[in-house]
Symmetry: C2
Subunit: 257 residues, 2 copies
């Protein structure tokens, strides 16, 4: 089995190293990852400038990988079309330091790497631990290796669908189980601070506290908050079919003047 591994925290991150160490006994792992943190990049790709890939030893491992100046989605394209020279059997992204739940999916660089894998019609999953500090990557790394083995053994996902996996930040023994979930909603408030720089000019900085809401039991956010692993099957068809059917009665003729 050949796995293409990327992330958005960068090639030097602990989460990537843990994942690489866990996946290496399962598969031949090709690491193609950003040279720096590329969080909250969404599904960005780099069209307007050259991309570089440099071979290096992944710190803390015996494995070589490629660090690039691209986004996680760039890394997947570079890996498949440039570096590997063939399609991997699986694309894995993470382990992300921080949850990717609810609306985080549309912002997340980690998730965008798995999206790009799914656009190549490859099996893919993104894996994250729901904490920003004192993160225990052990349970996530072990689960990723087992999930990779299951996919290798024939776990079928439809073309274009990938799995978004989130774990609570607790030791494996404390995890209550696994929930197959839907994407919840996850809102932020007070997201923008206005400040004055040393030269007296205004600037803004995004931040904001999380305002949890709309996280009923079947959702990703509920599962992780309640001590379960959340696995959400994700696709990139953003059509709101309910509204589509409702709008079929819309008299659009007047829009054309």
């Amino acid at each position: 089995m050949r796995i293409l591994l990327t992330n958005d925290d960068g090639i030097y991150s602990d989460g990537l190293r843990h994942l690489l160490t866990a996946l290496s006994p399962v598969a031949e792992v090709f690491v193609v990852a950003p040279d720096r943190e590329r969080s909250a990049t969404g599904h960005a790709i780099t069209l307007h400038k050259p991309l570089r890939a440099e071979k290096m030893n992944i710190p803390g491992t015996e494995t070589e990988g490629w660090k690039t100046n691209g986004t996680p989605a760039d890394c997947v394209v570079l890996g498949i079309l440039g570096i590997m020279g063939c399609k991997p059997d699986l694309v894995v992204t993470g382990i992300n330091a921080g949850p990717n739940l609810g609306e985080d999916l549309t912002y997340s660089g980690t998730v965008s790497g798995a999206m790009e894998g799914a656009l190549f019609d490859l099996p893919a999953f993104a894996i994250s631990v729901a904490a920003y500090a004192d993160i225990d990557f052990t349970a996530a790394a072990a689960l990723a290796a087992r999930l990779a083995r299951q996919i290798d053994s024939g776990l079928q996902l439809p073309l274009g669908t990938f799995l978004n996996v989130n774990l609570p930040n607790i030791p494996a023994a404390g995890i209550k189980g696994i929930k197959i979930t839907s994407q919840g909603r996850r809102r932020y408030e007070d997201r923008l601070e206005k400040r004055i720089d040393p030269r007296g000019r205004e600037y803004y900085w995004m931040g904001g506290s999380l305002l949890q809401m709309d996280m009923p039991p079947e959702t990703d956010g509920w599962a992780v908050e309640n001590g379960y692993v959340s696995i959400t099957p994700v696709h990139m068809n953003l059509t709101d079919y309910d509204t589509l059917h409702r709008l079929e009665n819309w008299d659009t003729g007047s829009l054309l003047g």
Copy 2:
């Protein structure tokens, strides 16, 4: 009516100017747009550095707007929470030079501006013309103004749903009608070129020709290719519910070891 207007081609682009000119008789328009092209940025937001907003006259108009160093999604947050000081009645993004069809939605900066509006539970639409050169923005600008009026008059969209509007690049008189569509699939091939720089080092550049496929008649791509305006209702729930229901039989216990 108050409209927040942004785009991903930048505040100096022709598409923005045409849209601003068409919307100004309909509403008070607040322009908050990137200081340069920010295409293919996906739904990226800027968390790790300060954002600046500078007031300027929009070239070719009598209107002032704010140019920022942010992404389209940043511009929407800056506009709502920083500059306007209140929520607009509508968020509009465009007019994009180039189609936003099928998988383009996940990459598109223009679409990400409308996504961000929808995350604020505001009505929003993104509007694009399906051409990269010799673009006639007239029909799109007029349609945007009429659509804004309809939304002001009570056209209801569910919270979190926005409209992705694409026009063929033909004069209004040639447009056959409006189709309410679903998101199709739109693939690219040969996306990566390997080159050698003047110092003999390898680099990569993304490009690639479009490989059209899976564009049946109910989709956005079919509509635009056949001379119709495509309007797709879009939401950000990426859950693949079919696969979710299928995976409910998945024996996940072994994943926990």
